[in-house]
């Protein structure tokens, strides 16, 4: 890179911009935390943006006493993990078959599944619940897991497709010569190469399942043993008024596990990527 003075100033301005933008991205996190310690009056009139004082920690107490936080948490966790595991597994196999293997209807099949990206949940809700019932899944966590998989599948397959396309064909040729069968080739050679995509998808699908509200409310809203964390906000929305501070506390309780999952996995991204980088094209 040529380093004349002008370029350097531009570079510094750019770096500064990157950091300011980052600050803007982090602010909602802090804001949400502040918010969860405030009353409606502070939130809307007296102190919408600053740090809360005095701390209305009773918002957390109300949240904790109004619903069974540990149980909801466990349900959210099981549903999210189940969704992530099965979606990733299915999407990996499907995308490999549609991107690298040779068969007639592969483009059609791929685009067909891509349809799933465009469906608003509200539109298909009634049919989906009926199907869940007809499979006898009602009253189990599968009643949420299967629809969630279906919702996320199209997206995951599309991401994987892009990554599989970028891998040179020589890898399979070499594996074939070495006498590996197609399953060995896939699981031992190809799958590790798309780890960066897998990690990003794990995070994304986990978040989707973790934050989902509409379907959860209809499917498990009446079964207290199966309710998930996002349903907690219902305890704060009255006919006319909403306890926003309590909502804030609920959302903090719901978000922090997600943030922790992300920070753990984002470390994993780094290590997964060094594996990906080590294999040369």
């Amino acid at each position: 890179m040529r380093k004349d003075g002008n370029n350097k100033i531009l570079h510094y301005i750019f770096v500064a911009f990157c950091w300011i933008y980052a600050a803007f991205s982090l602010y909602p996190l802090i804001w949400m935390l502040f918010y969860s310690f405030k009353t409606n009056q502070e939130i809307f009139v007296t102190n919408p943006f600053g740090p809360p004082w005095p701390l209305h920690y009773e918002n957390y107490v109300t949240a904790w006493t109004k619903y069974n936080v540990p149980l909801y948490f466990l349900n959210s966790l099981l549903v999210s993990i189940g969704t992530v595991a099965i979606t990733i597994f299915c999407a990996l196999l499907f995308s490999y078959a549609t991107s690298r293997m040779v068969w007639k209807l592969k483009t059609f099949t791929r685009l067909f599944l891509g349809l799933g990206m465009f469906i608003p949940v509200q539109a298909i809700m009634i049919p989906v619940v009926k199907i869940v019932q007809s499979f006898g899944l009602m009253g189990t966590r599968w009643s949420l897991i299967f629809p969630y998989i279906a919702i996320n599948l199209a997206f995951a397959c599309m991401v994987y497709y892009g990554f599989f396309k970028g891998i040179p064909m020589e890898l399979e040729e070499a594996a074939c010569m070495d006498g590996a069968n197609i399953y060995q080739t896939f699981f031992m050679i190809i799958e590790p190469l798309v780890r960066p995509a897998t990690v990003t998808l794990v995070i994304y699908i986990f978040l989707n399942a973790w934050n989902e509200f509409i379907l959860a409310n209809v499917v498990v809203g009446s079964i207290s043993e199966l309710k998930t964390l996002p349903l907690g906000v219902l305890f704060f929305q009255g006919e006319f008024t909403t306890d926003w501070g309590g909502m804030g506390a609920t959302m903090v309780i719901a978000s922090f596990p997600a943030i922790i999952v992300y920070s753990i996995f984002s470390e994993q991204v780094e290590s997964a990527m060094t594996i990906g980088g080590a294999v040369k094209g």
Binding site: L78, I86, K130, G139, T140, I223, E239, T242
Partner: protein
């Protein structure tokens, strides 16, 4: 490398079986207790709890449970229910604020709870598909009809003359609240005519006070704002439009729209009124940042708590003194056919109907005793635990002189008109849609 893949796969399968295990467990318990598993959601629920408690019957109930106005009556009703029906337990499903989306989906998929809170719209939709029980006999046998105030008789009956829900709210009214202290501070008289109102608007705006905080993100509040003006010109207000006995192109409605346009242009409402939610607007009013507020009479309790003697309500201003006086007898608002309804396919439908009636009575009692709201559907014979707030006293004194009311949007029966009046009045409030557009669009929609 090989190990890694293996462990990944192991992870997948372990997780899968764990969840499967959990799922199966839940399934067993839920199915174990229920007599028939045809009606999945609601009944598996009642089954799972009745399994280990002998003769106890659990009824699921879908209702609101969040703020004091909804929590106090519910808790009171549950407590009373324990004594009257010791073998009945309630499983509360908290109602979502989602325009009936959840309830309608539950109904469409056969998961309707045993008892549910039904709005006019829900009653009208569900009775077409027989998913709401006719309660005529129960209302008779439990004595509900005898206790119902005469003025509220029409609230119990749907359009087809049947009773589908036990109403607990009585006639309700849109009140125009104002902050007395602010009006005194700026030496303003309570406005009786629009000219006086415009003067108030000017003074308040100059001093950085929002004249009237509207929560225009909710269509019912903008529709109510239009209705309080419309009733000054045409007595029927939005109710007559809903019933089709008047047309939006009638002179009175056009004049009202033009007046509203003028008031908006003068700055009666805050500039971002259409994106303001209830809590934002309410906090503005309660903290003295706004001088006036339009809301139902149920707000009296909260307003008195926050502002004490500084808050009062006024009769709606009108075009001139004569129509102001005449208009004192006409209020926006009114009752709506809504309340606790019963799922006819419930295993314990007959019991559920009785319990629904019982809960309705207890709701009314709690509202009178602890929420100081005498405007309930039935005569409870109870006294409030302290004196009525001054504003409620004033309203009670006015009640006998009220000759006509209109409707809240949730009491409207024509859903097309309901949708139109909510969004079009919001357009007027935004100041970016003219009165002409307002009239034309509604006229178009109604065709």
């Amino acid at each position: 490398m090989k190990k890694k893949i293996l462990s990944t796969l192991m992870c997948f399968s372990v997780v899968a079986t764990t969840i499967m295990g959990c799922g199966a467990n839940t399934n067993e318990t839920t199915n174990g207790g229920s007599a028939s598993s045809t009606d999945a959601g609601a009944n598996t629920q009642s089954g799972s709890e009745s399994a280990d408690s002998g003769d106890k019957i659990t009824l699921s109930i879908y209702t609101q449970y969040a703020d004091d106005d909804t929590k106090v009556p519910y808790d009171y009703a549950v407590e009373q229910l324990k004594e009257a029906y010791p073998n009945v337990e309630l499983n509360l499903i908290v109602q979502a604020q989602d325009d009936g989306q959840t309830l309608k989906t539950l109904a469409a998929t056969g998961q309707l709870p045993d008892i549910y809170q039904a709005s006019t719209d829900v009653i009208n939709t569900f009775r077409e598909s027989n998913q709401i029980m006719v309660l005529n006999d129960v209302a008779e046998s439990t004595g509900f009809l005898d206790k119902l105030y005469d003025a509220n008789k029409d609230l119990a009956y749907a359009e087809d003359g049947n009773i589908y829900a036990f109403p607990f709210s009585g006639q309700e009214y849109v009140l125009w609240y104002y902050n007395k202290a602010l009006f005194e501070e700026y030496n303003l008289e309570v406005p009786t005519t629009y000219d006086e109102l415009l003067n108030c608007v000017e003074v308040f705006t100059e001093n950085g006070i929002t004249p009237l905080a509207l929560f225009g993100q909710e269509g019912w509040n903008t529709a109510a704002a239009y209705d309080v003006i419309a009733t000054r010109y045409a007595e029927g207000g939005i109710k007559a439009l809903d019933e089709g006995s008047a047309s939006i192109t009638d002179d009175g409605y056009v004049k009202a729209a033009e007046k509203m346009e003028e008031l908006v242009a003068a700055g009666l409402f805050q500039e971002d009124a259409t994106t303001t939610n209830y809590d934002q607007a309410s906090e503005k009013f309660l903290s003295g940042e706004a001088a006036m507020f339009i809301n139902g009479q149920w707000y009296i309790e909260d307003a008195t708590k926050a502002l004490g003697d500084d808050v009062d309500w006024m009769f709606y201003p009108a075009a001139d003194a004569a129509s102001y006086e005449a208009g004192k007898a006409v209020f926006s608002g009114g009752g709506s056919a809504s309340g606790f309804a019963v799922n006819p396919d419930s295993e314990n439908a007959a019991l559920a109907a009785e319990v629904a009636e019982f809960i309705t009575e207890k709701y009314c009692e709690a509202k009178v005793m602890y929420r100081h709201n005498p405007l309930v559907a039935i005569d409870t014979g109870k006294q409030p635990d302290s004196e009525y707030p001054a504003m409620m006293q004033k309203l009670s004194d006015t009640l006998p002189t009220i000759t006509a009311t209109t409707k809240f949007t949730w009491g409207l029966t024509n859903s097309t008109f309901n949708d139109a009046i909510q969004s079009e009045s919001q357009g007027l409030v935004s100041g970016q849609f003219t009165a002409e557009e307002f009239i034309e669009d509604i006229a178009d929609t109604m065709e």
